[in-house]
């Protein structure tokens, strides 16, 4: 500042200002540099390398060989890929709306003055911080086809032939989805709680004066006011659902047969187990494009609604 003031020449002020802007930028960059370096080294470079690998054949020991689009041609005809893609979409189609609804419901229920509400909020959040392996093992026990509490309960209320859950190709995926909804809803509930608390009370008061019932207030005030939160939750849930791996590996390992085999698992299997890193990268690239496209569409829809 002192520098500029001692040289008040009218024509010369532009150069120092530009230089100063550059300095500020550089300083700014230098602050994020350590973080960026970590990201570049451990995320960006490997991701770009994986993109390149998708067009090669590589067994991890010898030099990779350029094969062009061969991996993608193989993908197109690979039944395992089709099965995994279908299952991933099935999982997402169940997990996204159910988690969203459960999280919103919980948040509405716990967003009121109630004795012990903190306890219930903590209880709802608890599954999210519990070790996933423990969650999967316990739910597997609950879903035990012969002696599990879920089926004992169903039998007690008169269900003649309860589903065999993880031991059945038709019911394994619903069992996984139920577990994952239970696990994730607490986290998204917290986001919704934050969203709910930003809605001014005056809106509701005004609506009540105008004679709106609870249902109308929910649809006309709560839902529209929560749109930014819902958008964020939807994007996060979509990304999370498409790359699901851990829960499925521990609960069913893709079985019975291929009934819960998902894309992330196929990537792991083809890459690490079969040593086909090129092919595995090609599947990963497809998964990336899939998630990317869905997210972009979500952003577009959100922009259109905002304007």
């Amino acid at each position: 500042m002192a520098h500029v003031m001692t040289h008040p020449a009218p024509g010369g002020s532009q150069t120092p200002r530009r230089r100063r802007a550059w300095r500020d930028t550089l300083i700014g960059w230098s602050f994020i540099l350590p973080n960026f370096l970590g990201f570049a080294l451990f995320t960006l470079v490997p991701v770009l390398a994986a993109f390149a690998l998708a067009f090669m054949e590589w067994d991890s020991a010898n030099d990779p060989e350029w094969v062009g689009l061969e991996n993608f041609a193989r993908l197109w005809n690979d039944e395992n890929f089709h099965v995994a893609l279908r299952n991933t979409i099935y999982y997402s189609a169940g997990h996204i709306p159910l988690t969203l609804a459960a999280a919103l419901g919980l948040a509405m229920a716990l967003n009121r003055r109630l004795r012990g509400v903190e306890f219930f909020r903590t209880a709802a959040f608890f599954p999210y911080v519990t070790s996933l392996v423990a969650v999967a093992v316990v739910w597997n026990m609950l879903f035990n086809p012969t002696a599990g509490p879920v089926n004992l309960f169903l039998e007690a209320i008169g269900v003649q032939d309860p589903p065999r859950w993880v031991a059945s190709t038709d019911w394994a995926m619903p069992a996984v989805i139920a577990t994952s909804v239970w696990r994730d809803m607490g986290y998204y509930m917290v986001l919704y709680l934050a969203g709910l608390q930003t809605i001014p009370k005056e809106y509701y008061e005004a609506a009540m004066v105008d004679g709106a019932n609870a249902w109308q207030r929910f649809w006309r005030i709560t839902i529209p006011s929560l749109r930014p939160t819902t958008f964020f939750v939807l994007v996060m849930l979509t990304i999370q659902s498409f790359k699901v791996l851990d829960l499925i590996v521990v609960m069913t390992d893709g079985g019975p047969g291929r009934s819960t085999l998902v894309l992330a698992q196929l990537i792991f299997r083809e890459g690490i187990r079969e040593g086909e890193f090129g092919y595995s990268s090609a599947i990963a690239l497809v998964l990336f494009l899939l998630v990317f496209t869905v997210t972009v569409v979500q952003f577009r829809i959100n922009e259109r609604r905002s304007s």
């Binding site: 020991a61 039944e79 026990m141 035990n144 031991a167 059945s168 019975p256 047969g257 690490i272 079969e274």
Partner: protein, 434 residues
């Protein structure tokens, strides 16, 4: 360290400093990333040997073998790299791909061996194998890759029938020779009893596909890589029949509760159990520690009707030298030691079946505290033919995946035996053999 709002006059100096810090950080990060793991061998002939193992605490053979090797080679220290058993193949694959220098790599199964050797990640030790007397070394053939060897087996497991002697006595069933699968199914029905938590099953089939498939292949001469799987049918029908009749824990339940075969047998929840010889050391240990009171004995694997010989399946475990080892001489010495008589004696003491087959060693084996002493148990230990669990080829692991998936579908009742076998054949032919 860096003031958040530096006076402008000192910006340049700070910028230089900041850049310096950032560069130093980058270097440090790069050093971490590029350094790689593995032991560095200082100078010529290091005396520390690193070896990959799984579940060190629960696999006593490793410690027994390492102690014996250290004793035979004063000054040498063996440093095991312990890996979770379930993750072992994936972890080793990743280690080797990352240029790891661990000296000796344990070959947990033959399929992985064929992959590592094909990729050129293991040291060729053909000269050593050819100069050693391998006539008594069981399972060596499995490691022959076009007349070259990259590993030497030190243990050879095969499958036999474990049974609860007390339950057999109580039911007045006396085993005095190899039984057929029909007898086996009949006994399983006779020995099942109780309900709920007190339920005792006649037999327990673990969820692995080999329980059905590998034994069928071994006893019918079928080829698991052929794409034609009708030879599985009898075994599947028998297993499903027992499961349906409540004489064996049902597959879906076993999977859902991640049933542990050790618990099934040691808590007397089953009267019989076909399983590999590796489990002997497990029972001995459980009984020694007082964790189990099971009164057990061994019988040969049940046979198909009309069989004259005892045929079962098995698989060897071996040590190989990492091609990147900086300590290859010592590593080779260890591999040879493990396959030798001294190595065999060391692992026999903890109840593990060595690859080196020698009457003296078998005798020492049955001399172990807690081993059953009857003749049938000893006979079970000398099967006439041990067929390799799964043939080795570059198709093995793809076929394995398909056979395993279809196995699950048959066992949970999603597909009939005929449908399941048909889709195994169709899928192997179209996805792998085409």
């Amino acid at each position: 360290m860096i003031p958040s709002n530096p006076p402008k006059a000192r910006v340049r100096r700070h910028l230089v400093k900041t850049a310096g810090v950032a560069a130093a950080l980058a270097l440090a990060v790069a050093a971490c990333g590029g350094g790689g793991s593995g032991e560095t061998a200082e100078g010529g002939g290091s005396t520390t040997l690193t070896i990959t193992v799984w579940n060190l605490a629960k696999t006593p053979e490793f410690t027994a073998l390492f102690d014996a090797f250290e004793k035979a080679n004063p000054g040498v220290t063996v440093k095991p790299a312990d890996i979770l058993a379930d993750d072992y193949p994936e972890k080793v694959t990743t280690m080797l791909a990352g240029g790891d220098k661990t000296d000796v790599i344990t070959m947990k199964n033959v399929t992985d061996y064929s992959r590592y050797s094909a990729r050129g990640q293991l040291l060729d030790i053909t000269d050593m194998v050819k100069s050693t007397d391998t006539s008594k070394l069981a399972g060596l053939d499995a490691f022959n890759v076009n007349d070259s060897y990259f590993a030497l087996p030190y243990r050879q497991d095969f499958w036999l029938l474990y049974y609860n002697k007390a339950m057999f006595d109580k039911a007045n069933i006396k085993l005095d020779g190899p039984i057929t699968w029909d007898d086996y199914a009949k006994y399983a029905q006779q020995l099942s009893q109780g309900d709920g938590n007190q339920k005792v099953y006649g037999t327990y089939h673990h969820t692995w596909r080999s329980v059905i498939q590998a034994i069928s292949a071994a006893q019918t001469g079928g080829d698991q890589l052929s794409g034609d799987y009708n030879f599985f049918a009898d075994q599947y029908n028998m297993a499903l029949g027992l499961q349906k009749g409540g004489n064996a824990l049902d597959f879906g339940t076993a999977t859902a509760q991640q049933a542990d075969y050790r618990t099934m047998f040691e808590t007397a929840a089953t009267a019989m159990m076909p399983m590999g010889t590796w489990y002997i050391s497990g029972i001995l240990e459980a009984k020694e520690k007082g964790e189990s009171q099971v009164d057990w004995a061994l019988a040969p694997m049940p046979q198909r009707p009309g069989a004259t010989d005892v045929t079962t399946f098995g698989s060897p475990t071996a040590f190989a030298v990492n091609k990147r080892s900086e300590n290859a001489d010592l590593a080779r010495k260890f591999v040879q030691f493990a396959a030798s008589k001294a190595g065999a004696e060391a692992i026999t003491k903890v109840g593990v079946v060595p690859a080196l087959q020698d009457p003296a060693i078998t005798e020492a084996y049955f001399g172990l505290k807690g081993m059953p002493a009857d003749d049938l148990s000893k006979k079970a230990f000398e099967p006439d033919k041990v067929v390799l669990e799964m043939p080795v080829s570059d198709k093995t692991s793809d076929v394995d995946t398909i056979l395993n998936e279809e196995h699950q579908l048959i066992m949970v009742g999603d597909k009939s035996v005929t449908e399941g076998i048909k889709s195994m054949s169709d899928r192997v032919k179209s996805e792998v053999l085409n």
